[in-house]
């Protein structure tokens, strides 16, 4: 049974390290595009009003 937990802890360390790097990079782009869309939406509403 300890082998199962040994594999699981290393799977956690490897998966989490990979996800951290990947999400750190892609998430930064997501923030930029989200703020861009919010700014554009607000400009559009101001123009319409």
């Amino acid at each position: 049974m300890s082998t199962f937990w040994h594999i699981l802890i290393w799977a956690c360390v490897i998966w989490y390290s990979t996800i951290t790097i990947y999400v750190a990079v892609r998430g930064a782009f997501d923030i930029r595009s989200m703020l861009g869309r919010l700014r554009d939406g607000e400009n559009k509403r101001e123009e319409e009003s």
């Binding site: 360390v13 999400v23 750190a24 997501d30 923030i31 989200m34 703020l35 919010l38 607000e42």
Partner: protein, 490 residues
């Protein structure tokens, strides 16, 4: 004696706090409408969603109770994480309930329920969600303060001051920027928290060693430390409650579904669920390993009865200067992201659902945002007061799951019925809400009455938790079936 150095570790922590506050306050200029404040204008993309969900669902409280589970139950203590990961993956892949929920365009669960069960059920659902959520969240701040005092070696007399300072910082950026500030700070906090968690874990595996960890579990817990069904403190009732509770939390926990509802579409929401699912295994395994390391390394009698303090006590002398700063920054990041999201989530239900009947006409965005800010501030005051007054007893995770069951049981039954059972109606919804809330609240009350405390403790928290789900389901079925069918006008 703690290894925390004010010069080196304090500088790392200060730098992190400064970065978070600047980022949190900077995005407030993008908040123009109440939708921007509550659900980030529904513009959140996949990776930001993953970072935010992971950061929100991991606070100091999480680290403390999962480490406590590791210390007191060994590797088997991580079982709830496996249950939650499985639930999240299956729901994310199939879209069970979450697909129709996101497609409805609702900002909260009660808003969806109003369409099916009427305005009264929406209001009552809001009350139950807020009651369960705030009771659950009430202990976060104190546990966070306890951890920081233990790890940094501060005098516990400064606990109130630390709790207040931590809360004030979180309140400032959450009140100013709402969900937008929460998302951006969550992202930073995810990165800091993850680096801290990984570095400490690798260091434990490297310096303590796997064999010593396994030996400690074998000596203290035997087979029950590896297999939950062989553990006398767990067993089948524990497992069933974990499966029910974690599935319900995935479907209805306001902070979790807030990410689904902030996603730009249902498909993105589902992908956030399925791709974040394995994080919930890490969420239990990583701090659980820290708890097991405390079991292996601390001398007998160092912990006494306070198993919650074992992990911070171990880390305070295990980590060198520099890494202590990284650990404290990581834990502050974890705690701040959780507190801010939770305050905003419960606040959104108070504004959107509990106050809904009092808004006779549509409020302007400015007025709505002002109200939301006041609600978040009031939740902050409640957290501070509750954290000082309430004394938590026994296993923290069991307390959290039981207080969560006050609404998890009924809301999950309502959600499933709302999406998939045509005969479900407002009588059934009312029955589910009342019966689902009564059982856990009764148990929590009996625990506090001296004459019944021993009896309540002997039952444990798993059976009342399962009973809450059964009662809520029965309430829905019986209530819906006994309501006379409405006859259409000739």
């Amino acid at each position: 004696m703690s290894h925390f150095s004010w010069l080196v570790d304090g500088s790392i922590v200060g730098l992190y706090l400064l970065g978070t506050m600047v980022a949190g306050l900077w995005v407030r200029k993008y908040v123009h409408r109440v939708e921007d404040f509550l659900v980030a204008g529904r513009e959140m993309n996949l990776y930001l969603g993953i970072a935010s969900l992971a950061a929100t669902e991991f606070g100091i409280i999480t680290c403390m109770y999962t480490a406590q589970a590791g210390y007191t139950q060994g590797f088997a203590g991580a079982t709830p994480g496996l249950c939650q990961a499985a639930a999240m993956f299956v729901i994310g892949v199939t879209g069970f309930c979450v697909k129709p929920l996101r497609a409805s365009g609702a900002m909260t669960l009660p808003e969806l329920f109003e369409k099916r069960f009427g305005q009264r059920i929406r209001w009552l659902s809001g009350v139950v969600i807020v009651l369960g959520g705030l009771l659950n969240m009430g202990v976060f701040l104190k546990i966070g303060g306890d951890f920081l005092c233990a790890v940094c070696g501060f005098d516990p007399a400064y606990l109130t001051l630390m709790m207040g300072a931590l809360l004030l910082m979180v309140c400032i950026y959450t009140i100013m920027g709402g969900m937008l500030s929460v998302l951006v700070t969550d992202f930073l906090q995810f990165v800091v928290m993850s680096v801290g968690l990984l570095v400490v874990t690798v260091m434990i595996l490297w310096q303590v060693g796997w064999d010593r960890l396994v030996d400690a579990v074998q000596v203290h817990h035997g087979e029950g430390g590896f297999n939950p069904l062989a553990n006398p403190t767990m067993g089948w009732s524990f497992l069933i409650f974990q499966i029910l509770g974690n599935t319900a939390a995935t479907l209805t926990w306001q902070t979790t579904i807030a990410r689904l509802l902030s996603a730009k579409d249902a498909e993105t929401g589902q992908r956030i669920y399925s791709r974040t699912s394995f994080f919930f295994v890490c969420r239990w395994m990583i701090p659980g390993l820290w708890g097991i390391a405390a079991l292996a390394m601390l001398p007998a009698g160092a912990v006494g009865g306070d198993t919650l303090a074992a992990m911070p006590k171990f880390l305070s002398t295990f980590l060198p200067i520099g890494l202590m700063g990284l650990l404290v920054a990581a834990m502050l990041a974890a705690d701040m992201s959780t507190d801010s999201s939770y305050m905003l989530s419960w606040g959104s239900v108070i504004y959107n659902d509990i106050l809904a009947p009092f808004r006779k006409s549509k409020w302007t965005d400015r007025r709505a945002i002002r109200w939301n800010r006041c609600i978040v501030a009031l939740i902050g005051v409640y957290l501070f007061v509750f954290g000082l007054l309430y004394k938590i007893e026994g296993n923290i995770w069991s307390y959290l799951l039981l207080t969560g069951s006050i609404y998890l049981s009924s809301m999950s039954v309502l959600l499933v019925s709302c999406c998939y059972w045509k005969r479900a109606n407002n009588w059934g919804a009312m029955g589910a809400i009342l019966l689902g809330a009564v059982v856990p609240m009764l148990h929590l009350t009996l625990e506090k009455i001296p004459s019944t405390a021993e009896w309540a403790a002997s039952i444990g928290k798993d059976v009342p938790g399962i009973a809450a789900f059964v009662a809520a389901a029965l309430g829905m079925i019986v209530g819906s079936l006994i309501k006379p069918k409405e006859t259409s006008a000739p």
